[in-house]
Symmetry: C2
Subunit: 146 residues, 2 copies
């Protein structure tokens, strides 16, 4: 059976507080996988939940360290978080509308390991960001709003 949110927090060694539960809910039941701290803060306010911005930042970092979330450093200066579901993947970001698409390519992954090994490095992790324009109709070509 599925674990409840409080259990997830317990597992992570975090006590189950209101702000933590609300923030975790945003990621597990929200529709946009990738959220910045500001996104999270605004979404909490919008749903009437009164959580401080400092708490949002604190909790996001705690969730990252606990392995519940993954942090990405896209261009643009702000960190973006998403639920950690165990499956590593890379990202393609639309320069027109900000839409983020995920992909995984075994050839790229294995080449990376090989290249690093040849250069004498033990890989911890990596980030591959492709910046591009959508050429399909799914791109509204408008900046990401609320």
């Amino acid at each position: 059976m599925e674990k409840s949110q409080p259990e997830h927090l317990k597992n992570a060694g975090l006590k189950s507080t209101l702000p933590r539960l609300k923030i975790l809910d945003l990621f597990t039941s929200g529709q946009d996988r990738h959220k910045s701290a500001e996104d999270v803060y605004k979404q909490l306010l919008a749903s009437g939940d009164d959580v401080g911005l400092a708490t949002v930042y604190r909790v996001l970092t705690q969730f990252e360290h606990a392995g519940l979330l993954v942090r990405h450093y896209f261009e643009g200066g702000k960190s973006v978080f998403e639920l950690n579901e165990g499956k590593h993947h890379d990202h393609i970001v639309c320069l027109q509308c900000g839409h983020v698409e995920e992909f995984y390519d075994t050839t790229i992954e294995s080449r990376q390991k090989k290249v690093a090994a040849e250069l004498g490095f033990a890989v911890h992790d990596h980030s591959l960001h492709i910046y591009a324009d959508c050429i399909k109709t799914k791109c509204p070509h408008k900046p990401k709003g609320v």
Copy 2:
């Protein structure tokens, strides 16, 4: 024959000023390819050249737009610049000492294009950063000092 620095600036549509010449020199004759604005600023001060930090930021951005430099967004929040010598490459960053190694892999490059095309994107550019530990002796395993 080689072009002089003032000519490079002229070509780029930038008038040849003292701060610009000094900064360009740092990149063409300096030993560390990858420098942050702060790095550049400190190196200028160290060599007795009195250039304002605002000017450093302005000039770096101008050089980027002029195609003289390339900007990278590594983790850690600060932009890093390097001389644009026309050859795209990706980077491995040592988590121990900060050392940056460059590489280029045709397989990775072509897979990226293919993946993006399949997803319906026209690629502008991409960044691939591998974070790793040196396992060879070239790694002093100390944080990058001055």
